[in-house]
């Protein structure tokens, strides 16, 4: 199990009802972590519609998660 700092933006923050949380998880990749959180918080957007950043850099969904990683889920934002 690893401990991950998760941050949500925009519509994800709204749906999760929080902007960050610390998650203890067995998920080995960003994709697996997102599926776990998606089920827990009822997030509607699929990973194809989002980007994930790990430790301050856009990352692949299959990128491995290290203990203590900071993960940000970023939906596209349209308003102007």
């Amino acid at each position: 199990m690893s401990t991950i700092e998760v941050q949500y933006y925009a519509v994800l923050r709204e749906q999760a009802g929080l902007s960050q949380e610390r998650v203890v998880t067995a998920a080995a990749t960003a994709a697996a972590l997102y599926e776990e959180l998606r089920a827990r918080h009822g997030l509607t957007l699929g990973p194809a519609q989002l980007r994930v950043a790990i430790d301050g850099e856009f990352a692949d969904w299959q990128a491995p998660l290290a203990d203590g990683a900071k993960v940000v889920f970023i939906p596209p934002v349209a308003g102007g």
Binding site: V11, E57, G80
Partner: protein, 520 residues
């Protein structure tokens, strides 16, 4: 043939029209401005036009030249009356002939709008009540009106045509910064910035850039002002509701800083229009409220090798990205075309007014940094701004591995100005070459010796190309050129029939490619 002229006698529209006739043109568009019987609620009986002819003709010629280059039309002309005119008389005439109607309409509109804004012409109106008054050219009038004079053109007394009473713009508070100085101020004055969207983001962008003395500001917006805009679009007032935002913004910005050349485009920016419009600017700023436009701005910037400053907002948050030639672009961050409707815009999701205010201010700042060549981390990724928690987070992005040079491997094919047609405008030659089109010259040896193609190309004589289109890769993109665009059009048509969907003809051929448009 003069492109722009004054006449103290009635304009002969038949002769003017005939002067634009041209075998290569498939259409002609014209605009006539007439003397009407009222202005600002006052009955007008007759009027007089006066011009500063020497300056006016130069500026008029410049506008005609811009229209021809910008829209790739064949011929353009404008004639303006001076002296006394009666009601109903023709005051100004614009005519454009072109291979296709779209450019003819656009160039005609451009010419009349720019003439109204830029050419020093004054109009003295004689009213039914015996009174009379000078009405200045729109640009000066806007500056005066908004400087606190009573609204209405007739209010300006004779002789007060230019904002002579206004103080000079003073940039001392920014010039004192070591990054600016006189040299930096000169760079700002020389810069041309195109702002797409005059809403919550666009208003602070435009306001700060006009205040900073950016020399040329283009503003593109098709929308009319709505009361629900005003909590965040603080350049406008309730009394403006229903008017086009691009024109309103231009009016306010000219009043804010008459030194700025503000150009308003009341139109929806899309891939085709941006391809043409963006060419005249150094920096593009996306302040739109949808992804389709944001991608179109990004793509135009990448194709033309120009920087773009992109931003968007959602409730209490925003995202900011600076795209530089050769750096990660919007498609590196959002590789699969992100669809509108997936996430809310301001209308659907709600937003507090200062949120786009903050993001727009950041965009203005990034534009100034770009022009002043001040380094910024925003060009290496996306800045996430959370105004709920007051946190800013910088997410680094890398270029997609397939991208090379200044282009982006994920760009969609360049859009033709008219999808139904086979042609790209002559003005698109340089960008098509940069964009990876293979240029095919179908002219014969003598023609090629007389005027070599101004870019890297393959030479395939017309008959050989038409006889055997399969010699080309069916998935390639080809721009066929000849002397005047007729053979290349036939060739492109044959290639399309043979299943080569990426075949295009250069409209008007090399004859339409000005020396200044030739790629280096």
């Amino acid at each position: 043939m003069a492109g722009f002229e004054f006449s103290d006698r009635p304009l002969d529209t038949a002769a003017l029209r005939a002067s634009l006739e041209d075998r290569a043109s498939g259409g002609y568009a014209s605009f006539e401005g007439w003397v009407r019987d009222h202005n600002d609620g006052r009955a007008v009986e007759r009027l007089e036009y006066e011009a500063y002819a020497e300056l006016a003709i130069k500026e008029g010629e410049r506008i005609i030249g811009e229209a021809v280059r910008r829209f790739g039309v064949r011929r353009a002309r404008c004639a303006h009356r001076v002296g006394p005119l009666a009601l109903g008389e023709l005051a100004v005439w614009v005519g454009v002939s072109s291979a296709h109607r779209g450019e003819a309409f656009a160039a005609c509109r451009y010419i009349i709008d720019e003439v109204k804004h830029r050419v020093p012409i004054w109009k003295k109106e004689h009213y039914a009540d015996g009174d009379s008054g000078w009405v200045n050219c729109e640009r000066c009038a806007a500056a005066l009106d908004d400087a606190g004079h009573a609204h209405g053109h007739g209010a300006n007394p004779a002789g007060a045509a230019h904002p002579a009473g206004l103080p000079q713009p003073d940039y001392s508070r920014q010039v004192v910064l070591p990054e600016v100085g006189q040299a930096g101020q000169a760079r700002l004055r020389a810069a041309k910035v195109l702002v797409v969207g005059a809403g919550g983001l666009g208003v602070p962008v435009l306001t700060y850039l006009a205040g900073a003395g950016i020399g040329t500001l283009g503003v593109v917006d098709a929308d009319l002002l709505e009361p629900s805009n005003l909590h965040r679009q603080i350049l406008y007032a309730l009394a403006d509701v229903g008017r086009p935002k691009a024109l309103l913004a231009a009016e306010r910005l000219r009043a804010l800083n008459p030194e700025v050349d503000v150009r308003a485009y009341v139109e929806r920016a899309d891939a085709a229009s941006l391809q043409v419009l963006a060419d005249g600017y150094d920096v593009l700023v996306d302040c739109s409220d949808n992804f389709t436009t944001r991608f179109a701005v990004n793509d135009a910037a990448v194709r033309l090798g120009k920087p773009a400053v992109l931003a968007s907002v959602y409730q209490y948050e925003g995202q900011l990205q600076v795209v530089r030639p050769g750096g990660p672009c919007l498609r590196c961050v959002w590789p699969d075309a992100t669809r509108d409707g997936l996430v809310g815009n301001c209308a659907e999701a709600g937003v507090l007014g200062p949120v786009p205010g903050v993001l727009g201010s950041l965009q203005a700042l990034e534009v100034l940094k770009l022009v002043l060549a001040v380094a910024t981390p925003a060009e290496h990724g996306v800045v996430l701004v959370d105004l709920g928690t007051l946190e800013m987070r910088h997410i680094k992005a890398r270029r997609a591995p397939q991208c090379a040079g200044r282009s982006c491997a994920r760009l969609p094919p360049a859009v033709a100005v008219d999808r139904e047609e086979l042609e790209l405008p002559a003005t698109a030659l340089a960008s098509a070459v940069a964009d990876g089109f293979t240029v095919i010259d179908v002219r014969d040896a003598r023609e090629r010796a007389e005027r070599p193609a101004p870019c890297p190309h393959r030479h395939i004589p017309l008959d050989r190309l038409v006889d055997d289109p399969r010699q080309l890769d069916a998935s390639g993109r080809y721009l066929v050129l000849c002397a005047r665009g007729q053979r290349s059009s036939a060739a492109a048509e044959a290639l399309r029939r043979a299943g080569i969907r990426g075949a295009w003809s250069l409209r008007g051929g090399l004859a339409a490619v000005g020396a200044d448009l030739a790629p280096a």
